[in-house]
Subunit: 683 residues, 2 copies
């Protein structure tokens, strides 16, 4: 796949055996305990460790370039943050040494499928990092940083030999800067996190109904009228592209068309299909405005726009969106209807296919390859168009069969607040794609997590992306057999701590948002509640409350992580209790937590009316208390081996069903675990 | 004092009555509950509040300038952080309004004693902020931000009328960038905090034995050989000066001479009194190297250096240090000894006075006023030299009597890890200065907190400065009668939360440093220990362990705040229990905490050997447990009204004395409270 032959050549020169040995079937040491995410392809543990106590000297051998020097400086600064060992001045004791050997340069513009493999060999006397090019070095440095740990002998990295390379060449994250603008520092932090987990494509969703977010010098009314003043200057964009390249990350812009484009039309109504005037959209959903595919002037506009943007973004790929155009403006416009009849375009899908074909040619004219969402795949879509699937592996398989390459996003929608395990279980090569031939499977390039921003602001977006996206990064990097969910969660905790040590402060932000809700009151009891509730999953939030793009996202649902660690751990304990495998510690923990949750309501209720942001939480807090009380009752019965009548159990389960319903757009994460306990009372 | 007459003129035009009414004797509402720090000079509470729920429109009337517009943008962004209310796009509902009325500009370069007064009038319909110039507006905006709070009706500011002005015109913070370099982002955050608590002088200690920290174009070897590459470029310095000016803060550089100057001599040994060569100093203390006051070439060097630096720093004041020159290099140099005899300089102090006199003329030649530490005050010191006292009010009184102005730093040494209450109790006008005539007292300009950096790095300096410096800021701003320590601590907690909401993350950093110590282990029990221990006070730390400038400051002593909130609260409870004024809640809290502390050792000990950073904590943790056990025993006796024998009590107090001794360079904050409980068992 992709650079396998290049990798093989390089690896042969360096590695004696086993480079492509994958973890499946290997000793479980690495999978179970190595604090690295994504897990490397191949690990051999050594004896002893390399001390970092006196500092670490980083030396280049062979090829080098300014990007590598910056990578070293960043590495040294990060290592200093993770250890508190000051990087300067030179220590009087002997420093350990990391030798970086780079065979040669990577491509001037980072390419799909470039070699990212590396070999990291750490012994008690030194560390050597080998790679064919700077990309492999970047990946290996992140592995080294994750390996650095405190020990009885101070900070060390364990003796180990790692041969590593990614499974998929496209490991992306899409950030929606359209619905809520994400300032450049948020983008930078996102790229920092991506580098840490070896992701390599930043897909930047730059235009939406709610905002056009990039400066166009050719068509300045795009940002002047379509952004509320919230857009990236071209200078900032160039800085972000450089910043990403320093981290081995490609930047692919997306300009969504013909739908999801209302913000374009505020300044340029003539490229739309309706009569205008248009306003920036303040609600969320699918809206009627769409570009007019029937007028040549639309393509003249897009030609010049694409000329400008393809010059700004050096990547070979260019995303034109294409999703969710409802065609209603087309249906209402007699001129467009006439055009469709004249050109034999039988429906809106055909008209969109015509549009996509025209735009794809404009992109190709600038030497770029078009990427689009599922909808752009039509019978005569050119073979080089890459399909990003939000509908599932089936779309990808269809595309791959006819020769189009594709990337999976179905299952990686991190805005839907699903657990990391759910994303982790999704594989680009399963279901329909698993049935493809090996050659066809090569068309599956990888996947992308998508961070849509209806319910996310710059403040809390970090906590929506991280740490769950690290699980997706592992799915796309590590061998397919890497599937141990317990190991994943254990390492996800380590990664989250590591990201915090590096200055990614989403956990702190969550705490500060909770503290802000109670003002000068003691937030402890609110934090107890917060630790076990979760935002609703999937698209249910929008059904619970009406949101506008300016609605403050400062409620508890906005502050808590997508997934409650404590609720998840409680479910695990409940499963073990029900399954008869619980330890004494499990039972003690369950009782302690259930007691805490039951009693918290009495402490929290008096505070809630003091703040408009907490008043709505009264039923949620009460429900948590009641669910915990049911849990304690079930736990008592189980421990005393008392029988519980079917009627009582039925009542309890019925109560839990009510108690688990969303309140204040939040769901109670402990109800499933309590249900497990109640069900277990049936003997 | 200072701008009183200007203020009076301005105030008369705006304010009907009571502008100079101070809080002493006024209803205690404001002092006790107003969440503002420093407390304003005069407050009248209104009825109701102004809603911020729909956003706040900020409107200028009268004079404006780009600095005010930037202040407004910063204010809007901070208010958004503090509330989560998105600043854009315009809300569809009616926004509340803040009208900013500025009478005119301030001086082009901010001057000592410029008018900083403001009037803030908030009603349920609008807020009006009035000031003579932008400085007053900056101060008033901070008061507004502190007033914004969550309520049952959403975020509001209370209806209130505040007339406010500072007590002293010089309210400074000195940052030592010499011993440990402090990067520009640390400087910026420091200035952010200063703005929040209305401080107005940033004193930048830029040269030390351990480093020369600013780019000189005239003498580039200063930074090239004297800084380990850690210095500010002139471009960065200009940016910091602008950043400070935007926040109403003057920037005064200090170049310490003739002592504390080893780093200068690495590049320029000829200005020193010894033979050289010199190395950057890696230890801390007072060292022999000193400038040679006897050679004209020294003054030629300094003339050109001062020319360069006075051109870079626009402030009218220029600090030449002058502290702690031990004269040993002078004593050892026959040529210098001969010079002293020839010029009738009877001792090293006389030689330093000669040097200071020469340097002061070089500073005056560039139109600047010299500031120096106590030692620069000599019989013929010119009257315009400002004395910064590290020795106490007596030095200041002496200076003031002879006509020199002075600022107090004694008692404001925040590097010594003393409690906020201790700094809060120190007043520039008490002791010797209280006995001065009113005219002489005008020579006391204010004070400066000093953040020396022997035991502080960029990582933890925020937690050394904040929140305690806010207590000093209040001492220097608020009426002298503002002295309620309980109110101060209550509001210090509010300020600390507010600074966190603004993105000053010293509390988070403290947590991360603690988590880093245990690696992937659960840090909970270490946090329990951390929450009640404190760094040693004063200069005792250097006696406990040997430190070099490269010694990692990543131990528990470096992570914990200077003052333990929990230990302080426990002492308060113990005092109330001993004094018979404890509530039921006090007693319950004391028992809960003492139990937690007693039992924590069993949880923590097994972890400690796993990490080189925690292994040293075993005795500290054990001692906490034992002290808590003694406390519980005393509490039992008190609650059961049992008599305790004098012998038992004597044994307990003797044990506590041992348990309270420093361990791992940390002191146990609960021992004094436990001692109080034990003593109370004597009936």
């Amino acid at each position: 796949m992709f650079s396998l032959s290049k990798l093989r050549r390089f690896a042969t020169a360096l590695v004696v055996t086993c480079v492509f040995f994958v973890l499946h079937g290997s000793p479980m040491y690495a999978q179970a305990t190595l604090p690295v995410m994504p897990l490397p392809a191949h690990v051999v543990q050594g004896a002893g460790s390399l001390s970092l106590h006196g500092g670490l000297q980083v030396v280049f051998e062979g090829y080098t370039e300014p990007r590598l020097e910056r990578a070293r400086d960043r590495f040294v600064a990060t290592l200093s943050r993770e250890t508190g060992i000051l990087p300067v001045p030179p220590q009087p004791v002997n420093q350990s040494k990391l030798i970086i050997k780079t065979a040669g340069p990577s491509a001037p513009v980072q390419q799909l499928g470039e070699d990212e493999s590396y070999r990291l060999e750490i012994t008690p006397t030194q560390a050597v990092l080998n790679a064919a090019n700077p990309l492999g070095i970047l990946r290996g440095l992140q592995t080294f940083l994750q390996l650095a740990k405190i020990s009885p002998n101070g900070f060390v990295v364990p003796a180990i030999t790692i041969d590593d390379q990614p499974r998929f060449p496209w490991r992306g994250l899409m950030l929606d800067s359209g619905r809520h603008f994400m300032p450049v520092d948020v983008v930078r932090q996102t790229l920092d996190g991506m580098e840490a987990v070896k992701m390599n494509v930043f897909h930047w969703h730059l235009s939406e109904d709610q905002g056009f977010r990039i400066e166009s010098k050719t068509f300045p009314l795009l940002q002047e009228k379509g952004s509320d003043g919230l857009f990236y200057t071209q200078e900032q964009v160039r800085e972000i592209i450089d910043y990403a390249r320093d981290r081995g990350i490609r930047v692919i812009p997306e300009f969504d068309m013909p739908g999801h484009a209302t913000a374009w039309f505020v300044g340029y109504p003539n490229i739309a299909s309706g009569n205008g005037p248009y306003q920036i959209e303040r609600e969320f959903g699918i809206f009627d405005p769409a570009m007019d595919p029937t007028r040549e002037s639309t393509y003249e506009f897009l030609d010049r726009f694409i000329e400008e943007m393809t010059a700004l973004f050096p990547d070979a790929y260019f995303h034109i969106g294409g999703d969710e155009c409802n065609g209603k403006e087309w249906d209402r416009n007699p001129r467009i209807q006439q055009f469709m009849r004249e050109h034999g375009l039988k429906d809106d899908a055909a008209l969109q296919a015509y549009f996509t074909g025209r735009v794809q040619k404009l992109v190709a004219k600038r030497g770029k390859i078009t990427v689009g969402w599922d909808e752009v795949l039509q019978p005569d879509t050119p073979k080089d168009v890459v399909i990003q699937s939000w509908r599932g592996q089936k779309s990808l398989a269809q595309a791959a069969e006819r020769g189009n390459r594709g990337i999976l996003s179905t299952g990686y929608y991190i805005d839907l607040n699903q657990p990391a395990s759910q994303h982790y279980a999704v594989d680009p090569l399963e279901g329909a794609t698993a049935k493809l031939t090996a050659d066809q499977q090569k068309n599956i390039l990888g996947g992308e997590a998508t961070m849509w921003s209806e319910y996310t602001t710059p403040e809390n977006v970090g906590g929506r992306i991280w740490p769950r996206t690290a699980a997706i990064a592992e799915r796309l990097w590590s061998p397919q057999e890497t599937k141990d969910v317990d190991s994943m969660y254990r390492r996800l905790g380590v990664v989250s701590e590591d990201l915090a040590q590096r200055g990614m402060l989403y956990r702190t932000t969550s705490e500060l948002m909770i503290e802000r809700m109670v003002g000068d009151e003691d937030p402890s009891s609110l934090k107890v509640l917060a630790s076990v509730v979760e935002p609703p999953k999937g698209y249910s939030r929008e059904e619970l409350t009406k949101y506008y793009s300016y609605t403050p996202l400062n409620h508890l649902v906005d502050a808590v992580p997508s997934e409650s660690d404590q609720a998840r751990q409680f479910r695990g304990i409940a499963d073990r209790i029900a399954g008869g495998t619980a330890t004494e510690n499990d039972r003690r923990q369950a009782r302690q937590w259930l007691t805490l949750w039951r009693d918290n309501d009495a402490l929290l209720q008096p505070l809630l009316p003091h703040s408009a942001l907490t008043a709505e939480l009264a039923p949620l807090s009460r429900n948590l208390s009641q669910a915990a009380a049911i849990g304690l009752s079930a736990l008592d019965s189980l421990e005393k081996r008392e029988s519980v009548s079917a009627a009582t159990r039925g009542d309890q389960l019925a109560s839990l069903k009510k108690l688990g319903a969303p309140q204040a757009t939040l769901i109670d994460g402990i109800v499933p675990g309590v249900e497990t306990l109640v069900r277990a009372t049936k003997r």
